[in-house]
């Protein structure tokens, strides 16, 4: 009997025989791959997968890579693949799964995530964007912020307040919003690096059909949690090589410029190199835990450690540059597709790293979570109970 992996390899071979990767039109190829259940093998049959273990996906990807097959450019649709798809799979209706997952996977439809607001950062559940129902249509008004890919997105994961009289966590509902409509305006949000990875999104009488509601009315918080738990599931990916992170360029500069070396800087780079390598080892251990089916809370430790390390290493790197540390490569407003620390100068890394302890959960919130959920210490006293509309803002 063939193992699952061998079975998949022969399926891919058959598929490639029927769809020549060089001559088949890209989208046609991708759609056919989805329909053959070779898109994401851990998804159910009929939705691009075969209900196999997630770990087998790499087998399929390797075969397609080796054949030079066109890809769905996953880097362009990180939110879609990493967050929207699992949310739709877990909470969407059969009709929604059928309608959304295929164009999502092929990259025909880019997704973004409309969660954070100017008044709701760490306290997401306090968000104020309103959705009001009229028959089968909801009208949406409000402002979202820190939205990556919004300027490219066809659809958005939207969480909005549908019942201001309910306590804040209970009055939220989750939707898939069509971004290409007159009531949605996307503006770049320029950041301290000079570029704009993110956007602000303004919704003025934007509409969303009730058919595009995900989960029940009032269940938006539970669905949002499902989305966020899926943030960056790519954690199970490849192990990072030694000096694979931010420490690489600092170490290179150190080696190439003996004239910059001082005892104080030497102590700092040795400490940071050691801490970075230990953090890398801890990351490997975390992956092993996940692979062994023992997910632990160590992920929050990793986030805290890397935020600190990225900041300290990039601070050192600017200092190591001496007079060149006073220069910056380019303040031009750009629209990069994501955070990329490399290919830019140390000043960029220094500035961009400041976001690492804010985005994806501030370090302060993470410490609260570790203290409360891992260590079991008492929760912060709450004053935000009762109807949302009565809370001080």
């Amino acid at each position: 009997m063939l193992s699952d992996a061998d079975g998949l390899r022969s399926q891919v071979a058959e598929f490639l025989a029927a769809h020549d990767p060089q001559s088949t039109e890209r989208l046609e190829f991708l759609r056919a791959r989805f329909d053959a259940g070779l898109a994401w093998v851990h998804y159910p049959a009929g939705l691009g997968g075969q209900g196999l273990p997630r770990s087998l996906q790499s087998v399929v990807d390797r075969e397609f890579d080796a054949a030079g097959a066109p890809t769905n450019h996953p880097e362009r649709n990180g939110i879609g693949l990493g967050m929207a798809a699992p949310t739709i799979l877990a909470h969407g209706s059969p009709e929604q799964k059928e309608r959304w997952l295929r164009p999502l996977w092929t990259g025909e439809e880019i997704w973004c995530q409309l969660f954070s607001e100017p008044g709701a950062g760490s306290d997401l559940a306090g968000l104020a964007t309103r959705a009001v129902r009229d028959g089968d249509t909801w009208t949406v008004n409000g402002q979202k912020v820190w939205t990556s890919s919004a300027h490219m997105a066809k659809r958005a994961l939207l969480v909005a307040r549908t019942d201001p009289d309910a306590p804040k966590h209970e009055g939220l509902t989750y939707f898939a919003l069509d971004m290409k409509q007159p009531g949605v305006e996307v503006r770049p949000l320029r950041q301290i690096t000079g570029e704009a990875e993110f956007n602000e999104v303004f919704m003025t009488d934007a509409t969303v059909s009730d058919a595009d509601r995900i989960g029940a009315v009032g269940q938006g918080w539970a669905v949002s949690m499902a989305t966020l738990m899926n943030e960056r599931v790519s954690i199970g990916g490849n192990a990072m090589p030694r000096e694979g992170g931010m420490i690489a360029s600092a170490a290179r500069t150190w080696r190439e410029h003996p004239e910059l070396r001082t005892p104080g800087l030497h102590d700092r780079i040795l400490r940071l190199w050691a801490d970075a390598e230990v953090a890398r080892i801890a990351g490997s251990r975390l992956r092993q835990q996940l692979a062994a089916g023992q997910p632990g809370p160590e992920g929050s430790a990793a986030k805290l450690v890397f935020a600190r390390l990225n900041q300290e290493i990039s601070e050192l790197e600017v200092e190591l540059a001496g007079g060149d540390g006073l220069l910056y490569d380019d303040w031009t407003m750009r629209r990069p597709q994501g955070a990329n620390f490399f290919g830019r100068n140390p000043g960029f890394r220094f500035l961009r790293a400041k976001g690492n302890s804010i985005e994806g959960g501030t370090s302060e919130i993470l410490r609260n979570i570790v203290a409360e959920r891992v260590l079991g210490l008492p929760k912060e006293a709450r004053v935000d109970t009762g109807p949302w509309k009565d809370l001080p803002r």
Partner: protein, 410 residues
């Protein structure tokens, strides 16, 4: 605060983002070691912990520090007989358990948690590694059962980075000594786990430099206990006056045996430090939950929650580093193991010391009293942070290991 958007990232944590671009690109491929605990290791831990809970409660450990018998020989015999702790690293053919540094590290974690005064590190790890490197089956067979313990006479503060200075030398043979027998003279001080040792492994200068075995029962051996910062691992001074000795290894083989022993010692003490740090954290977390001031549990104050969260983070890093050192040593002593040990000793030294200091501070007044175990942990943590090379000494070794030369290298 309860779950918010940001909070939910805990589980998956934006690790891949944090790892940064390049996570799949350049750099040397790194060998994958198993950094988790095997079922066997978990069982071993359970057995050791049960025994230590029963026979090394902190009040007993504290009381023993003020007696003339600071090492608990009875506990050590039980650990050896019931758990096989003395012969973990020794092959089964020689009466040992045929296990590896991975299992030794688990025992060390538990001993760190209890600060039990037994010569596991000195005899079952350091001296045993020296003998394994020298292929001295005769002594290994004796050590395997735990009735005989051995100690390498290198000061505890010496790390694996360089050959420790030798203060013992070969003395001329006495009339009537058998051919091939040796005599040693000299004094070595600041020795850990040598106080209860029956056999001393003595690096000695002569022609050539060598490693010699000395029975403490021989005439001319003097042992002087030292009043030590950490009385749960009391140091001593050994004086040898033309003492009869047996050759274990000479020349480069002896140097390698000593180097391997110190490397293994530094790697395994990291697990002891990790165990100690975790115990300090556990104890402190439990205490701040039950301690009430201002009509609330002090563990609810964010100033305290955040300190403990940071400590927990440090402990998770220390665990990974310690496991990596143990697994690397088990995979073979060489450059990768040297790097792994260096990282682990540096990380775990800092973490254990900080955890013990936080334990005292967050216990408030009670933590400053003799009648609370916190000081036992603080003293062990501080001593361990110096033993087998300070964190700073280990990090300094990265100038070569990680190719980050200092300013003097021009």
């Amino acid at each position: 605060m309860e779950a918010t958007a940001s909070e939910a990232t805990v589980s998956e944590a934006t690790v891949s983002e944090a790892l940064g671009p390049g996570a799949s690109g350049k750099g040397r491929p790194v060998r994958q070691l198993d950094l988790l605990y095997t079922d066997t290791e978990t069982e071993l831990r359970g057995a050791v912990r049960a025994l230590l809970d029963d026979q090394a409660a902190w009040r007993d450990v504290l009381a023993r520090t003020e007696t003339g018998q600071t090492y608990d020989t009875k506990l050590w015999r039980t650990l050896a007989a019931e758990i096989g702790a003395a012969g973990l690293l020794i092959p089964e053919a020689l009466g040992g358990a045929g296990a590896s540094y991975r299992e030794a590290a688990v025992v060390a974690e538990e001993l760190g948690r209890s600060v039990a005064p037994v010569p596991f590190l000195g005899s079952a790890v350091i001296a045993t590694t020296a003998l394994l490197a020298s292929g001295d089956d005769e002594l290994l067979t004796e050590l395997a059962g735990g009735t005989v313990t051995a100690a390498l006479t290198v000061p505890f503060a010496a790390g694996p980075q360089s050959r420790p200075p030798t203060t013992v030398r070969l003395a001329p043979p006495h009339r009537g000594d058998e051919a091939g027998s040796y005599r040693l003279t000299g004094t070595v001080t600041g020795l850990a786990d040598a106080l209860p040792a029956d056999v001393l492994l003595v690096p000695a200068d002569g022609v050539p430099y060598g490693l010699y075995a000395v029975r403490v029962s021989e005439e001319g051996v003097g042992k002087r206990p030292l009043v030590s910062l950490d009385m749960t691992r009391q140091l001593c001074e050994i004086r040898l006056d033309e003492v009869a000795a047996r050759k274990v290894a000479v020349g480069p083989a002896a140097e390698q045996a000593v180097a391997a022993a110190l490397l293994a010692g530094a790697g395994i003490i990291a697990s002891e430090q990790f165990g100690l740090a975790e115990k300090c954290l556990d104890t402190t977390v439990a205490y701040v939950k039950e301690r009430h001031q201002f009509a609330r549990s002090v563990g609810g104050f964010q100033a305290i929650k955040h300190r403990l969260a940071d400590e927990w983070v440090a402990v998770t890093q220390a665990r990974a580093a310690a496991r990596n050192a143990a697994a690397s040593l088990a995979a073979g002593i060489g450059p990768e193991a040297t790097l792994a040990v260096t990282l682990a000793k540096a990380a775990c030294s800092d973490t254990a010391l900080k955890a013990a200091q936080e334990m005292i501070q967050l216990h408030g007044g009670i933590g400053f009293t003799w009648e609370h175990p916190a000081h036992l942990y603080l003293k062990r943590a501080k001593a361990d942070s110096i033993g087998l090379g300070t964190a700073d000494a280990h990090r300094a070794a990265l100038d070569v290991l990680a190719n980050l030369p200092g300013p003097e290298a021009g």
